[in-house]
Point group: C3
Chain length 215, copies 3
């Protein structure tokens, strides 16, 4: 009982963080009104889980639970109301976003395992759960999704999902290993932002960077 | 019998209007050929219903009914053939688009209710049914979907879906209340376009507007 | 036995070609890192089949088969590692892409037929299977999907799917007619690229082309 309550609180915290972050991105990046802010907040918070559930051929679970909807709407409305002041809160917002990323990667992967998917598929679906909402948000805002150029975002989610699925394969999955997997994702993400780590880029780009830019 | 025929006619009218409108938008906004015009007309007309049905974990209904496919293709082909002249028809096209918006909002919400979803989810799915096709069209055309910055578009659909679901909760849903809900959506949309109503925008935008633009 | 092995080899060849092509497009078009290259390669290779399976309300088949995942990842990694040299291989890559297009159009249409869809729907789903992955890739890269402006891409897929479904309606579908349908698609695509065929464009565009460009 208490364990599932803990999971619910963590899951709703991630939803809130993603909605806040997604709505703030919308406020800053494009000329959207309150409808756009709420829509993009909800899409960021729930899009990854919806893609996961569609890939699993099951009903999108978070969409049908009013607590997730309400949490996402509240997060988006806070961003709408205080977006002009939240610049000062960059650090807590980044941290909350990393929390959402970590938790969604682990729960997404484990939901896929529960549906009988193989380990590779479960790890990929965990990663998609974590990064999918932000990807749709960026595509709708006409931006190249940051996950495609910022390896720091997908890689920690991938590692968190990998740890969770690995623990499950070893018969060790439980609250403790779930928290370890999520904490690993969180740490890599936060350290990556702090120290500006990057994933490898294609050699074509390195060559272009050496040349003077064309036009 | 006659009632379901009425529903079918209204639904096909909405499909036709959305296909025409979507294909015209494509002709005007980007360098697309006949394939792109037909594809974007069909996506605009059927995309919202497909998202709704995917969220309901059911087979996309309109896609499997040849009458919807044929109506959408005909609407798109008319836009392809006469797009250079349809500028003069802006008013009837706007009106047809508002018809589609109104009808899809109500039928989308009621389909969700029929699948056992809660009121909030049904209202959201009704709104998505109404605005989803145009959103995918805009994303494919590389434009920020107008629904995100033009609250006039999603808000009337939301209110129409709200009225329909409200009538259903009160045990009053039927042809009369469906028409009232759709007509309310239609009126708000048309009056909104006429008088240029807007949804609230984030304060960040208002502040930016007061400052001289940067670069 | 041998026939299904042949189908598998052709299908994996198409997956490999699409992953290579999609990842190369990503390397050239945008500033993506290794995560983005792999993600876009996989999306190009598997996106069309996933859309098809979602429209059929069935589990995405290729996603759940590790052989497809592995083939797509290997194709994307080759593009990542050798993308700066693959410019010289434009011809073989175009040919492989046409192979993928042809095969996916035929197998996509026949899977839809097997799920009981009507001929028109099956032809459309075959076309979507063939062009869907590249469309999502382009949308994520912020480009107007080339399928919307390059009729040469969707039209051969449509004809290949049409031939396969036509053969099936006549009771003639089998390995021979499948190969004929795919070869027809392949030939039209390759000849179209070679001789620069185009699909009709809206008259509005032709008129604009005659005028001097505005800004």
């Amino acid at each position: 009982m208490e364990q599932s309550l803990l999971l619910l609180i963590l899951d709703l915290t991630g939803t809130f963080a993603f909605a806040l972050n997604g709505a703030l991105t919308a406020v800053r990046a494009a000329r959207v009104d309150i409808v756009g802010v709420i829509a993009l907040g909800m899409i960021t918070a729930m899009g990854g889980g919806i893609i996961r559930d569609v890939m699993l051929s099951t009903s999108p679970a978070t969409f049908q639970d009013w607590r997730y909807l309400a949490t996402a709407v509240v997060g988006a409305l806070i961003a709408f109301a205080f977006g002009h002041r939240l610049d000062r809160l960059t650090l807590p917002i980044e941290v909350l976003d990393a929390v959402g990323l970590s938790f969604f990667a682990v729960t997404g992967a484990m939901k896929a395992v529960g549906f009988g998917l193989g380990p590779a598929q479960a790890i990929i679906l965990g990663t998609i759960t974590a990064v999918g909402g932000g990807t749709i948000r960026d595509a709708l805002l006409g931006r190249i999704p940051s996950v495609l150029s910022d390896g720091l975002y997908a890689v920690p989610a991938f590692i968190g999902a990998l740890f969770a699925v690995g623990a499950w394969l070893l018969g060790l999955y439980g609250p403790v290993t779930a928290v370890i997997a999520a904490a690993t994702c969180f740490l890599i993400r936060v350290l990556g932002v702090r120290f500006n780590w990057n994933a490898p880029v294609p050699r074509a780009w390195k060559q272009r960077d050496r040349r003077p830019p064309e036009s």
